[in-house]
Assembly symmetry: C2
Homo-oligomer: 430 residues x 2
Amino acid sequence: MPEDWTSYVETIGREARRASEALAQLTDAARSAALRRIASSIREHRAGLLNANAKDIDAALQSGLAPALVERLKLNDKRIESMAVGVEQIASQVDPVGQTIEGYVRPNGLRIEKRRVPLGVILFFYESRPNVTSDAAALCIKSGNAVILRGGKEAFHSNRAIVGVIKDALREMPSEAHGSAVGLTNAVQLIESTDRALVPHLLKLDRYIDLVIPRGGESLIRAVVADSTIPVLKHYTGNCHIYVDRSIAGMEQQVRDICVNAKTSYPGGAVCNAVEHILVHRDVAETMVPRICEDLKTKGVEVRGDERVRKLVVAEATTPQDWDTEYLAFIVSLKVVDSIDDAIDHINRHGSRHTDAILSTDARAIEQFTKRVDSASVIVNASTRFADGGEYGLGAEIGISTDKLHARGPMGAADLTTYKWIVTGDGHVR
Amino acid sequence: MPEDWTSYVETIGREARRASEALAQLTDAARSAALRRIASSIREHRAGLLNANAKDIDAALQSGLAPALVERLKLNDKRIESMAVGVEQIASQVDPVGQTIEGYVRPNGLRIEKRRVPLGVILFFYESRPNVTSDAAALCIKSGNAVILRGGKEAFHSNRAIVGVIKDALREMPSEAHGSAVGLTNAVQLIESTDRALVPHLLKLDRYIDLVIPRGGESLIRAVVADSTIPVLKHYTGNCHIYVDRSIAGMEQQVRDICVNAKTSYPGGAVCNAVEHILVHRDVAETMVPRICEDLKTKGVEVRGDERVRKLVVAEATTPQDWDTEYLAFIVSLKVVDSIDDAIDHINRHGSRHTDAILSTDARAIEQFTKRVDSASVIVNASTRFADGGEYGLGAEIGISTDKLHARGPMGAADLTTYKWIVTGDGHVR
């Protein structure tokens, strides 16, 4: 491994830019054909992918990785099949590239069009789940972008095997599909080193890379933001809340079901849209807190509570840090609040602007909550687990943006595009 | 002036955030009423604004500022009236806030809505023209955002006077219009110092500020990008091109008119969408280069040319730096190119991704140029000077983004918003 990463990352960036230019010349039919070939290839190489994944799992168990994270890391036949299906579904999505977003003629006869075009080159940092590798590669190809992947070290062997399969499929594309001798294989590149020292070099490649998406822990994201001269779309983890309003008459069972679903429906609770904190209005605390806690404990969830919660149920005491923590595990903290304003203020102060829910039958409370809670997704009377590109009908997602610019919340293929103004006149001068 | 800017910028940021929360509670009617009050106030304080501007003009003349820049800086009755009219026009625009961008019901009955909301707090760096101060303040108020303004030192007295007038108008707003004792006066704040040392402190206020828009010279923008932990939308200057294709039979006079208009229709050529470089296909060089040059020289434009141009006309020789230079003056460089591919490659290599035009009657050439030129605005058979929010029908513009994320090209009020996903269920679990 070289100690000076400058020339290594320079090559990666230059090749990605070149591949993005080749991709931009392809029709949607050709990009989709490439994706279907990748899906077949994933199925054909199942055994190899499982072998590579086994190395990661062994290393994870030896290093004492948390069970929920080991579970996230694991591939099996079903997960490999669902990776292939995911790539096929992305192939079948409507092509966002070339869409006219707006188009009109000005009073002077100038025709104005906003036309969707690929961003160019995307640098994607992510952690743990290997299926993210194929999803991200497929979404980028679908939207006409080249991608540079930097996965977590825990999934290193799995990611390398998946990207190998993808590149083989791209290499075998008939040349008429990409029009020239320029290969598409570098449309998807993996950083083949877990050395952190190369990251700052990557983040200075603004002449080749158009967007950085860091999806993972807060320290990773802060480091990326500090070092990057490329625009960044942050994907902070989800410190998600449910607020149980005073007005829930007739929906008590729904409240209980939603709280349990939001915490436990993903294995180990290790997912960014799982609820971490439940805020209960004082008027319904006496009836609801014991029931919610019992339901959660039955499912094996550790319940923590503030002082008022602990007068109603047996629970570990929360510390101030609890309210800023995304557990990514079967742990939840409960708090009794005096008003909806207190709930909103708590969420805006401690949340991560990801996904927060209100459970209520009161239209005015719902209006106030949806207006004032400053989060990408505000959910009414449903589980926080719905905050997801697939559930929103976007197809697969590259992630869930906690930023406000460009794309907020679940990001699909269309969010990996920009637009161009095409202005057509007939000798117009101003 | 304090030497440690930390507490000064902290106060500015905190007050802006607070004002943005007050603004977010206002109806469009209240925000528009505030803008109309600002417009009246600008008219009433014309004398004061002219006095303040005279100080800047004196200083500019003494410091030997370029004539075109002095011209940009100057206020007069007509320009003050057009500032007031500009604010009124923004008041009358359709309110972008609260719009449902998309809305649909999923097969499981979940209702999904993308609803437009203000970004929050915007930090705006800009140079020279004082009317930008009132335009930017009005656009931010219209879209529900608080703004922190940092103008160029040349316009310091003018900007301070304009912001003073705006704040007075906001202070006098009847309290029912903003619903609470929280004033709106800090919705618009000016950094009252030209000390560069405070800039890095401002750029770390990511807990208060949602977006930085630097509009000005390249060194300013690079410094902002390097220091900022807040997302940045860059507004680089425009190194704009016109490509005169081989197929221009019957539109020779239009070509001449467009070249002259694109260079000379703004006083001094000191505007970002003026043409700086004209690329002429070799097949029409012999006829067109002499005519274009003559037209430009008649208007007082200095013409520079490459070797092949200088075989056809008397012109200064270009140096390699010319092709990367935005003159912002009555200077233009001409070059003869062998093909449309050469023109496109030249533009993508030397341009600033701002605005580039093709003049041609050949549909295939136009298709190739609009597809491959990687610029925010690609103009066909019209002057580059049309790249402008007003001309595109956006109303006033906060600037012209040369970035690809979030907003590209001319940015209006809607580009100062983000969205929120509002997801409504009826006890839905996943």
